[in-house]
Each structure stands twice: as structure tokens, then as C-alpha cells.
């Protein structure tokens, strides 16, 4: 998700990812990033909430909060590491959060999630 020319000539971009960790079994991570690009410039950016949710089928097994963040930078990112719980069906990981960008009295927020299967 991005806002082209959000701060005059720069874009505000939000990203999320769900990934199974390669170095430890039975763990996955939810990632979030807010940043500017084309070109990167310093603004107030972050997110108002960030969470990692693990589902077994559609049953919610665990939900971990990553908190809010607001910083004066070109980019900021964070991740939540989750130990998987046992599951008889398909396991899903979800990275959710509301991104926030402030520049020159203008604020935009974007609430969305990324969900993927965790093998």
C-alpha cells in the first residue's frame, strides 16, 4: 500500500509480511514496516497498533500485541516472533496493523492485514 507524493515529492509506503523462520522450527514472525521512498525523506511515521495472530482453521489460538510506534525517520520496522501451537488442520499467521504517516499537518492512516499459511 502506498500514497504517491504524500509529502510533496516522496511516497509513503506500508508493508507487512508473515514468514516461517528458517533457523528455528515451530516459529514464525509477523513483520511490519512504514517508510518513505522516491526519494526517502524524514517524516513522522509508524503505526497505531501492530499484532500477530495465529489461527488453526478459523479458530484463533493466540494473539500477540506489538504496540504502537511513531518516530521521526525515513523508515521504521518491527517484528513479532511467535512460537506455533499444535494444530490438526491448516495453520494461518496474520500480521495486522494500522500504519500512520504525518507530514505538514496532513495525516494518513491505513489499517490492513497480511495472512498466510504457516506450514
Amino acid at each position: 500500500m502506498s500514497w504517491i507524493n504524500f509529502s510533496g515529492s516522496s511516497d509513503a509506503i506500508s508493508a507487512k509480511m508473515v514468514r516461517k523462520l528458517g533457523t528455528t522450527p515451530a516459529k514464525w514472525a509477523a513483520d511490519i514496516a512504514s517508510y518513505t521512498d522516491n526519494p526517502p525523506i524524514t517524516i513522522t511515521l509508524g503505526w497505531t497498533y501492530f499484532s500477530a495472530t495465529e489461527k488453526c482453521g478459523s479458530v484463533i489460538k493466540q494473539n500477540i500485541q506489538g504496540g504502537a510506534r511513531s518516530v521521526q525517520k525515513k523508515e521504521t520496522a518491527n517484528g513479532i516472533f511467535v512460537t506455533t501451537m499444535s494444530c490438526s488442520s491448516t495453520r494461518y499467521g496474520k500480521s495486522a496493523g494500522k500504519h500512520e504517516y504525518k507530514f505538514g499537518g496532513n495525516t494518513v492512516r491505513d489499517d490492513w492485514y497480511q495472512q498466510d499459511v504457516i506450514p
Binding site: 508493508a15 528455528t24 522450527p25 515451530a26 494473539n63 516472533f81 511467535v82
Partner: protein, 282 residues
């Protein structure tokens, strides 16, 4: 002769290209990585890492242990994953970790509960529909989910996901796959035969030791290792118990998850209460 060599060279180049392309497909979600490679590499550096060298040499080869677990599981699957039947599974789940789930009534979901599943197995041995209920012993429901057609419903949170497909029921709740992942990281698995109440049991266990203590978001103290135990009934192949303990740097042990299999049965027809719930989501 020259033409033949050239043909083989083309074939080899084609195969190498194919391998490179295939490897690329298995890299974690490329979208995030490609749009912001610096952040992607930062988050990879933060991953916890295991120290497989700290285990004693007397442990069994992991291959041997995971194959034994796989054989037990297959024995159980042959008996229970028969087509056109309902599988009924009831587990007691225990944990000392706050799962962070807030139910629609504003209350926290307990860490310990009963998980009851009714799964209809189709002719291909796959789950075609199911009802899973997390509840207490007095039938107070914490969450209930339904798979019907290609849609999964969470009746408690009034949420639904489309695109579901028939799946293979993991009778061991993923333990054997866990053993294989452990095997790939060269972590030894201990195996012993034990007897409990005249029942012969296979016990598999291993310890994941982290290179540096890791901070889990739901646990205040850094974790230095995880100890995992799985028990199989030697006669039936049923996986009956699983336990995962997290060891803190302070020496304290926290029960991350434990489950006990209470009921595993196959029935030609599910109870009317189960069928009614399925009927009502259509």
C-alpha cells in the same frame, strides 16, 4: 559427436536454470523483500538461532526417531482416516501462557480448555467439513468454527474465510513434521520405551537450545531453550500426549503447551447437535 555434446550442454544449462527458478519460488514472500530489502534483511538478522552442537553424542540419530514416530502415525491414520466417516477427537489443552485472545464478550480466553473436533473424512481420506469447539467441561463455549464447502467460519467472532480446500487431518497435531524440522537442523532426538498403567508407550523428546536467549512477546523473561516431549501408544500408534516447556534464563520453566488425547473414535454419523450447526451455517 560435437552435436551430441552441445545437446547435453543445453540440457544441463536448462536444468540449472530450472533449479535456480524453483529455488526462487521458495524464498519467503518476495513482495516485502523486494520493496524494502534493507528492512527485510534486518528482520532476518533478528531471528533466534539454535545451537545444535550442545547436545550429547549418546542421543539417537534423529532420522531413526522421526521414522519411528512417522510409522506410529501412519498406523493410526490407517485405522482412523477411513472415507465417508466422522472422526471425533477430544483433547485437553493446557498452558501457562496468556494466549492474548479477547473474546467478543470482552473476557480473555482461558489458556487451558477442551478442544473437541468433529471431522467428516471424504473418500480421498481428506476432511471435507468439520466443527471445532473450544470449551470447558461444563459446555461453556469459548470459540466454535465450522468448515463447510470452501468456507471456514468462526461462529464466535462472526468471521469467515473463503477458499478453503479439503485437507489431511493432522492426527498428531503437527508433531511428526516438527520432528522432521528438528532433524533438518541436526538436533538429536531422544527415544525411550516406557510402560504406564500396563500400556507400552514410545516417548520422543528433544531440546532446542538457542544460541542467545530470545525474547518472546508473550513472555517477560528471555527463553534459553525449549524442551519438547511426545508420547505414542505403542499398540495403536495413537499420539496421546504432547508437551512443550520453555526454559527461562532464570531457570524457571514455563508450560507453553500441553495436550492429552481424551477421545479418538470413528462414527458413521455425527450427533444431531453437530449436524444442526453445520446445517445452520449454509
Amino acid at each position: 559427436m560435437y552435436k551430441s555434446k552441445r545437446k547435453w550442454l543445453i540440457v544441463i544449462i536448462f536444468l540449472i536454470t530450472l533449479v535456480i527458478i524453483s529455488a526462487g519460488l521458495f524464498v519467503s514472500n518476495p513482495t516485502f523483500a523486494s520493496i524494502y530489502p534493507q528492512l527485510f534483511s534486518q528482520s532476518n538478522q533478528n531471528e533466534p538461532k539454535l545451537d545444535p552442537t550442545s547436545f550429547s553424542a549418546e542421543d539417537l540419530s534423529t532420522n531413526e526417531a522421526s521414522e519411528m514416530a512417522q510409522n506410529s502415525l501412519e498406523q493410526w491414520e490407517k485405522k482412523i482416516l477411513k472415507g465417508a466417516n466422522w472422526v471425533h477427537l477430544l483433547y485437553q489443552i493446557n498452558s501457562e501462557i496468556d494466549n492474548g485472545v479477547i473474546l467478543p464478550d470482552g473476557k480473555s480466553m482461558p489458556s487451558s480448555y477442551l478442544e473437541e473436533g468433529w471431522y467428516f473424512i471424504n473418500e480421498n481420506g481428506l476432511v471435507e467439513k468439520n466443527i471445532v469447539t473450544l470449551r470447558d467441561e461444563f459446555e461453556t463455549i469459548y470459540q466454535q468454527s465450522v468448515l463447510s464447502g470452501s468456507t471456514e467460519y468462526n461462529l464466535t467472532f462472526e468471521d469467515k474465510m473463503d477458499g478453503a480446500e479439503p485437507y489431511k487431518l493432522k492426527l498428531d497435531r503437527g508433531f511428526t513434521q516438527y520432528l522432521m524440522e528438528v532433524d533438518a537442523l541436526h538436533i538429536p532426538i531422544k527415544y525411550i520405551d516406557i510402560t504406564n498403567n500396563n500400556k507400552s508407550i514410545k516417548e520422543f523428546s528433544f531440546e532446542e537450545i538457542y544460541e542467545t536467549p530470545i525474547q518472546e512477546n508473550q513472555i517477560a523473561k528471555p527463553i534459553q531453550s525449549a524442551v519438547v516431549v511426545g508420547l505414542f501408544d505403542n499398540e495403536t500408534g495413537e499420539m496421546i500426549t504432547y508437551r512443550k516447556l520453555l526454559k527461562c534464563v532464570t531457570g524457571e520453566q514455563i508450560l507453553f503447551e500441553e495436550w492429552h488425547l481424551l477421545i479418538a473414535e470413528i462414527l458413521p454419523v455425527a450427533p444431531s447437535s453437530v449436524l444442526d450447526v453445520l446445517e445452520n451455517v449454509k
